[in-house]
């Protein structure tokens, strides 16, 4: 889970693994302590400042009279009654044991210069403390984010170049693409069928080996499935990626210009997508008569990918994002099936329980309309590259579904936990 690969391209790292919560808190505490020290220093200097201003007042007032009656200190514990004389003569310490005899005015000048030095010290200390406070707040935020389970997702920024090439050569071989695409979908569908078979086999085994410790039993199967499916999917995704750019990208471009027209088109498209999605998922759940359903899926999937490109163009994401999304949408056909069927296997014991939940989930995705169509694809394919911020829950969905592709047994339970 720590380094779950996002479609084999990026890495998902929980913030907590890089900055453990308690470490971050410790760091924050240390910075707080430093701030406390600085505060003490500052208080001390401020005291000096007030002392200095008081002294300036005193010195400027003393020559007003010829002498002042005072108690002359004699040691620290005794006084003599006496008076100040020569009230315009001051001995001022210059430092290092040297004293200068100054008049009241000159002394005031010296003292104001000292005051300025103190002021600059106060300023520097304040700046220092501001820095430290920023640091402390950063640490606090990091700690809280790590505690919340924020993840960092990294992906290489290589895709864009390849996409640009494709987009350039795009216009010429527009016709070829359709053929490509059909091939592509046929391949994906065949892959899906394979997966379904595997799942069914696994399910049979599961029923036999049914046990309270579900996950333990499932683990080997899952690993098996994983090995194959991961590599295959990756290659699929890669292929579909490069090919899909060709046709989807121009559309995205095109869409950006005639907004009005597009917005009209988009709605029906997305509706169809939603339908397509629900069509696609529901049959898969029942795992009956797969071939027919899947013959359907290619087109609907295709439609869906169109719709998705449109929405991406609308949301003005970056280009690289766009291309990745394509890959995701096309590979979505394979992964979700994988996923949902897994979910069913995992929940054999509580089939009655999970299936309604699953369908509910489906319903949610299809009813999520405009964005969600795009979103749900994220949630299932685990391509949550962006927008983890404003949609934290969907991001989490995605993360867990990612892990589902690598560890099928766990996510099921996670779904249960979340849904119940």
């Amino acid at each position: 889970m720590e380094q779950a690969a996002a479609g084999g391209k990026g890495t998902v790292t929980p913030l907590a693994s890089m900055f453990p919560v308690n470490e971050a808190q410790k760091a924050a505490k240390r910075v707080e302590e430093k701030i406390g020290e600085k505060q003490k220093e500052l208080d001390c200097i401020k005291e000096y400042v007030t002392e200095n201003t008081n002294l300036i007042n005193l010195v400027s007032r003393l020559p007003d009279e010829l002498n002042h009656d005072i108690m002359v200190p004699f040691g620290k514990a005794a006084f003599f009654p006496g008076r100040l004389i020569h009230t315009n003569e001051f001995m001022v310490l210059l430092g290092d044991g040297y004293y200068a005899e100054r008049t009241a005015k000159q002394t005031v000048e010296i003292l104001t210069r000292r005051g300025k030095a103190l002021d600059s010290q106060v300023e520097s200390l304040m700046a220092n403390m501001k820095d430290l406070k920023a640091e402390a707040s950063f640490f606090d935020v990091t700690a809280s984010e790590a505690a919340e389970g924020l993840v960092e997702i990294r992906e290489d920024y290589v895709e864009e170049n390849s996409w640009e090439k494709h987009s350039k050569s795009d216009d010429k071989n527009n016709d070829k693409k359709v053929a490509f695409e059909d091939d592509e979908y046929a391949r994906i569908m065949s892959r899906l069928d394979e997966l379904e078979k595997e799942e069914l086999e696994a399910e049979d085994e599961e029923v036999d080996a049914e046990d309270d410790d579900e996950s333990a039993v499932e683990q080997p199967d899952a690993a098996e499935n994983d090995d194959e499916s991961d590599t295959d999917e990756q290659t699929d995704a890669a292929e579909s990626n490069s090919e899909n750019h060709d046709n989807t990208q121009p559309k995205a471009k095109f869409n950006q210009f005639p907004h009005q027209i597009y917005s009209e088109i988009r709605k029906p498209l997305q509706q169809t997508t939603a339908e397509a999605l629900s069509n696609k998922y529901l049959p898969q759940q029942s795992i009956t008569d797969t071939s027919n359903v899947f013959m359907q899926t290619p087109k609907s999937g295709f439609n869906g990918s169109k719709a998705f490109t449109g929405s991406i163009a609308e949301s003005a994401d970056t280009v690289s994002t766009n291309s990745r999304q394509q890959a995701v949408t096309s590979s979505q056909a394979s992964e979700p099936a994988f996923d949902s069927s897994k979910a069913i296997i995992g929940s054999i014991v509580e089939r009655a329980d999970t299936i309604p939940k699953n369908s509910q989930q489906q319903a949610v995705t299809s009813s999520q309309a405009s964005k969600p169509a795009f979103d749900s694809s994220k949630a299932f394919t685990g391509s949550v590259v962006e927008r983890t911020y404003n949609l934290p829950t969907s991001g989490q969905d995605a993360v867990s579904s990612q892990s589902s592709s690598s560890q099928p047994s766990k996510p099921v339970s996670r779904f249960k936990i979340r849904r119940s």
Binding site: N52, L55, A77, F79, P81, E89
Partner: protein, 151 residues
């Protein structure tokens, strides 16, 4: 059993670090304050004796106004001196009266110092006792006393 011992040791250590050591530090700080007092009064006694010896009648000194700025001050009558008797009260004494008072004060301060010293050594002894207790719990061999220096 082992965990019990561990717990016990932990408690002992906590007692030493959280209780006895702060006490020791506080006692030492108090004693330092008293030492300071002692120094102040012995200085004053020496100064008054000096005045007496030179039979000073009037006196000129420099008064610190703060921040090491000094001004001359004149004391017309140095016979009478106001001495701090505690709690912010100052009593007007002649020189001999002041010397008597200072002698009494020094005696009291010496007693206080002795008291604090006894307190400090008892705290130190308690710390040592607890440490020995921890050692016994750990069943370590007793430390050999350092070889005494022979002069």
């Amino acid at each position: 059993m082992d965990s019990y011992i561990q717990e016990k040791i932990h408690k002992f250590e906590e007692f030493v670090d959280g209780h006895l050591k702060p006490q020791l530090v506080r006692a030492i700080a108090e004693r330092d304050k008293v030492f300071e007092q002692q120094k102040i009064f012995s200085d004053l006694r020496r100064s008054i004796e000096n005045l007496e010896k030179n039979s000073v009648t009037n006196l000129r000194t420099m008064v610190n106004l703060g921040s090491e700025v000094y001004m001359q001050a004149d004391v017309p009558d140095a016979q009478r001196i106001f001495v701090d008797v505690g709690l912010g009260f100052h009593v007007e004494f002649t020189w001999t009266e002041a010397l008597n008072f200072i002698a009494l004060r020094e005696e009291k301060i010496a007693r206080q110092i002795e008291e604090y010293t006894r307190l400090i050594s008892s705290i130190k002894a308690r710390i040592k006792l607890v440490c020995e207790g921890i050692r016994e719990l750990l069943q370590l061999p007793a430390e050999k006393s350092l070889p005494q220096r022979v002069f």
